[in-house]
């Protein structure tokens, strides 16, 4: 998947992303399964809502965590998320 920074991702309707209190982390739920997300993966997924572009998401993360050069990590995670089908581009 070639990610364009203007792409606007959204959570695919066949997956659900939510906070799990007992697990103390964000998770992705799908038919009969669940993946627990790391803290940073959760922060990225949280910002995917079918409105923010990839570029906006990166900038927002950089401001929130006062870090720069997060781009590579974010893109790397998004590639996985597109490939597994968790997210798709908003049409």
């Amino acid at each position: 998947m070639n990610i364009n920074k203007a792409d606007i991702p959204e959570i695919a309707p066949t997956f659900r992303f939510q906070w799990e209190e007992v697990q103390d982390c964000y998770v992705v739920l799908y038919p009969e399964g669940m993946v627990k997300l790391s803290g940073s993966a959760g922060e990225i997924m949280k910002r995917i809502n079918g409105e923010h572009s990839v570029d906006t998401i990166i900038k927002d993360l950089e401001t929130t965590f006062s870090e720069n050069k997060l781009e590579d990590d974010v893109i790397k995670f998004l590639e996985v998320a597109y490939d597994t089908g968790w997210i798709r581009n908003k049409k």
Binding site: P13, T14, E21, V27, L29, P31, M34
Partner: protein
């Protein structure tokens, strides 16, 4: 050393999976149904309020997935209400259905209630199977349902129960799943419990059949890569190591039977163990404190060869129900394991069935009729058991 039980209790994890067997009523009568033979005894179903309470309690403990199954869960008129409550509580909601009794109005109502996923199981009786493979009415209905599942943006999971009578049609079955545009396909080998166990002589495939089917399954797995995930598991009777049953007893799975019995696995009701009922105790008490759920937790209960085996943390000694059915003691090693002293007996039995299958195929013997899963046969079986 810590006394049995204590060690496991402190790091006891909550259930992740709640399987809600809403009812054992079902319009179909599949001879490979894994429901208990005693379905006729379960007339006293939990009420809507009972289910809501159970869902709340399990969710609070941490259960994230809920499966509505049965029997046929569509038989319950409060299904939509229960789905809505489950979704509201934050569960990922799975409906496991034969699709019989489904129509567009219901699919839409379930979507509105927040249902996440419908798994349509092709587990109709033989005649119906041939029907749908042959392209008649049932197939048209299934196809229509599958189309609607897609149209309403549910992930499409097709589950096909595989056994000797349909395994040779595996290519047609996979073609059908391609045509229906399935996201996930589970080619589920029949598990020999309940009704399928008494029909095992007629249902167990031969090694030859399995080998052929595996080649076809692999071909489709390659071909559909990225489009559809095809899972094919062969019956464990042909393995040398048992499956890590339920990921460990009372570890992540919680089943509630239609009458409210809480079980570590939907087959466990057959074991001579007392299980709690959620009409009397809370889900938390059942999970944490009941003797039934603690019975096979940890490793202290194990007998040899499991007890001193270095693979015990991998497979937990296999399936307790299988051990019980084949050895008379649920604490024994699952005979699927080639370290079990009973493994040879299992091999002999498989060989006997393979011979039978060959004779049937050559029309030397007539196939024994299948025992269909219905209330009449169940009552008969319960009665016979009482008479003995």
């Amino acid at each position: 050393m810590t006394p049995a039980g204590l060690e496991t209790k402190s790091d006891l994890k909550p259930p992740l999976w709640l399987l809600a067997e809403l009812t054992y009523r079902c319009p179909l009568q599949c001879p490979y149904c894994s429901n208990p033979l005693e379905i006729a005894k379960y007339q006293n179903e939990l009420s809507t309020e009972d289910w809501v309470r159970v869902m709340q309690q399990a969710r609070k403990m941490g259960a994230a997935q809920i499966g509505f199954s049965g029997g046929e869960p569509l038989v319950r008129p409060d299904l939509e209400e229960l789905v809505q409550e489950a979704r509201h509580l934050g569960y990922y909601t799975n409906l496991i259905t034969s699709g019989v009794g489904m129509d567009e109005a219901r699919i839409k109502r379930l979507k509105d209630a927040g249902l996440d996923h419908i798994q349509i199981s092709f587990q109709a009786s033989d005649e119906e199977l041939n029907n749908f493979l042959g392209g008649t009415k049932t197939f048209q209905h299934k196809k229509e349902m599958a189309r609607l599942v897609k149209a309403y943006e549910y992930p499409m999971v097709l589950n096909i129960v595989i056994h000797r009578k349909n395994i040779d049609q595996i290519r047609d079955i996979l073609e059908m799943t391609v045509e229906l545009d399935a996201d996930y396909v589970e080619l589920a080998s029949t598990q020999y419990y309940g009704w399928s166990r008494i029909n095992v002589d007629q249902l167990l495939p031969t090694r030859e059949q399995l080998a052929r089917a595996e080649i076809v399954a692999k071909e489709y797995q390659e071909r559909m890569k990225g489009k559809s995930r095809i899972i094919y598991v062969i019956p464990d009777y042909f393995e040398n190591r048992p499956k890590p049953c339920m990921n460990g007893w009372g570890a992540i799975f919680l089943t509630i039977a239609p009458d409210g019995t809480a079980l570590p696995c939907h087959e466990a009701g057959q074991l001579p163990i007392d299980f709690p009922n959620v009409k009397e105790v809370s889900v938390e008490e059942a999970w944490k404190d009941s003797p039934g759920f603690n019975h096979f937790r940890g490793f202290e209960w194990m007998k040899e060869p499991c007890r001193s085996c270095d693979e015990k943390e991998k497979d937990f000694g296999g399936c307790r129900c299988q051990a019980f059915m084949m050895t008379g003691d649920a604490a024994n090693t699952d005979p699927v394991c080639d370290k079990s002293p009973k493994h040879q007996e299992l091999l002999d039995d498989v060989e006997r069935i393979e011979k039978l299958a060959a004779q049937e195929a050559a029309h030397q013997v007539e196939a024994k009729p299948l025992v269909f899963r219905n209330m009449k046969n169940s009552k008969q079986i319960v009665k016979e058991a009482a008479d003995v």
